[in-house]
């Protein structure tokens, strides 16, 4: 029997597999394909104070081994999220992590104050890394002092675990991760999408209406691994790794590089049952390698001998 459980602050995950925000709706959409109670947790679609329609079409495009998106945080708004979406998760035996974003530093605190009493929310993930919005998002997450201010504001509102989702579009992710840690974050998750773009050479139009979007999928996995490694070296709080994870072996790489847990994103679109298969794969890997607790491999990267 392998112990797959890991801890993110005060939160215990029964296994290290979470579904990433924006790729799993509000939690129940994939019910026909998998039992979400088997997951370590789900991170719901970013919620903002007011409903958002999102960006103009086209919002998605495929690139080699990757996907560009510019959805623009389309969501139902906090009111509907509380009244209509969270109740659907009442009887689900998994952790629910609410992902939040604001247009201003104060809005982040305000939305968390609205959510934080809800018994179904087990943790908060702060989105300071969306590349597809005018305000907040990436603009905040590339600045250590603004990231710190957002995290402090949220920290003052809630005793629930606070996870800060970081962007890879920075010079040194360790600086931003430390700013989050020093401001009271319980964990960081990295990475959000990598800024990307594509052009239709026949029409000379950009593939996305907003020109630049965020790249996800296996194309960004090596970038994500490097950022997770750097973040894990920079902070003592847990790092949650994501970016192009398509199977259990990818997840193991992230754990070894320093991630305490992982999130699947683009995978969910392609194989809705993928996250659950990934958990089974992690268990098999542990059995094969005589690992009794998966937590033992976190950050277990070995040095290569000097030749």
């Amino acid at each position: 029997m392998v112990d797959l459980s890991v801890k993110i602050g005060s939160l215990t995950l029964k296994n290290p597999v979470l579904t990433a925000s924006g790729t799993f709706g509000y939690g129940r959409e994939y019910d026909p394909y998998l039992d979400i109670s088997q997951l370590g947790g789900i991170v719901t679609k970013t919620v903002t104070l007011e409903p958002r329609q999102g960006n103009p079409m086209p919002r998605i495009a495929e690139t080699p081994a990757g996907m560009l998106n510019s959805i623009g945080l389309s969501n139902v708004g906090v009111e509907k999220y509380l009244n209509e979406k969270l109740p659907l998760l009442a009887d689900v035996d998994t952790n629910v992590i609410a992902n939040v974003a604001g247009n201003t530093i104060d809005e982040y605190a305000e939305i968390v104050s609205r959510l934080q009493h809800h018994p179904r929310i087990d943790a908060i993930e702060i989105n300071v890394s969306c590349p597809n919005v005018e305000k907040g998002g990436l603009a905040f997450g590339t600045d250590a002092s603004v990231t710190a201010a957002v995290v402090k504001g949220v920290r003052n509102q809630t005793g629930k675990p606070v996870i800060v989702k970081l962007t890879p579009n920075v010079t040194d992710i360790g600086v931003i991760a430390r700013a989050a840690e020093d401001s009271g974050a319980d964990a960081v998750s990295c990475i959000n999408t990598v800024q990307g773009m594509g052009v239709n050479i026949h029409t000379r139009q950009p593939l996305l209406a907003r020109i630049i979007g965020g790249l996800s999928g296996p194309a960004i996995k090596p970038i994500a691994l490097a950022k997770v490694y750097q973040a894990a070296q920079a902070v003592r709080i847990p790092v949650i790794g994501l970016g192009g994870i398509m199977g259990w072996a990818d997840a193991v790489e992230f754990l070894i590089a320093g991630a305490t847990a992982v999130q699947t994103g683009t995978l969910n679109f392609i194989e809705p049952a993928g996250p659950v298969q990934l958990i089974q794969g992690l268990e098999s890997y542990c059995i094969t390698h005589n690992i009794s607790r998966i937590a033992d491999i976190i950050g277990s990267l070995e040095k290569r001998p000097v030749k």
């Binding site: 709706g25 086209p58 998605i60 080699p64 998106n69 389309s74 392609i270 809705p272």
Partner: protein, 262 residues
């Protein structure tokens, strides 16, 4: 619902770039209805990465098979073209909401354009089964993409063809045929409209049918990632201002409710 590996049982070329593929998909063939789609993973590799949506061209419940009609436009469809009978692809589906066939329509006018016309074969099969009178207005750029004309006519479908290369029927657009049809049937009762085609055609039809007083159902095409309403990539704006997803709320919409470009 599960994703399922489905074996290709046949694949034929209609032209050098348009193909009709037949798949063993017993579960889908039983559950599906006209206008719904399947979401296909053409290979287990990482490129092409995403699933591709294909509207169901025909369903054969007793044989447990479905047919799809597609044009090779990118790496996914190129991969699909190169697959042979016996090869396997993975399907999710049936997905989306198909056409409402229960509306009290006596005479169905079906407008099909290009590859968007793929689902009208299945739609017409279902309409004929319900003893509806069917007129099919079918337009393509390349006349070789018009096929099975004799079969439609043998089954009593009034078929009108428009081709832009002047190789078959009227030399022009399917919307020309629609204008003529509406002029001939002005004031007729019991009509119902069904529209499948590319967005410019659907926009044009929306404009033409404004003065008619019956329902027009249009099937929209859009790029999709998830196919189930999660990624929010295939948004369509309605005239009410509401945003809906082509994959989950559609792909069939009341043509009058669609707000093209706001």
């Amino acid at each position: 619902m599960q994703t399922s590996d489905c074996k290709i049982t046949a694949q034929d070329a209609i032209t050098e770039s348009v193909f009709r593929i037949r798949l063993s998909a017993p579960g889908i063939s039983k559950l599906c209805s006209p206008g719904q789609f399947v979401h296909m993973r053409v290979s287990t590799g990482l490129d092409p990465l995403l699933r591709r949506p294909f509207s169901i061209h025909r369903a054969h419940e007793s044989a447990g098979e479905i047919e799809l009609l597609y044009r090779v436009v990118g790496s996914g469809t190129a991969t699909l073209r190169d697959l042979k009978p016996g090869d396997v692809v993975n399907l999710m589906g049936p997905l989306g909401n198909g056409f409402d066939l229960e509306k009290p329509v006596d005479h169905a006018v079906v407008v099909a354009g290009g590859m968007g016309g793929a689902p009208v074969f299945y739609l017409i099969d279902a309409l004929l089964k319900r003893n509806k009178r069917v007129t099919l207005l079918w337009g393509t750029r390349d006349g070789r993409e018009i096929f099975d004309e004799a079969d439609f006519e043998a089954r009593g479908v009034a078929l009108k063809i428009a081709t832009e290369d002047a190789s078959k029927g009227h030399n022009g657009l399917v919307t020309d045929l629609l204008k003529t049809f509406l002029a001939q049937h002005a004031g007729s009762a019991g009509l119902g409209g069904y529209v499948c085609g590319p967005e410019p055609m659907i926009r044009a039809v929306q404009d033409i049918v404004r003065s008619t007083d019956f329902l027009w159902q249009a099937s929209l095409e859009e790029q999709m990632a998830c196919g189930v309403g999660v990624c929010l990539g295939c948004a369509v704006k309605l005239k009410t201002g509401e945003i809906q997803m082509v994959c989950k709320d559609g792909p069939v919409f009341d043509i009058r409710e669609i707000a093209f470009n706001g």
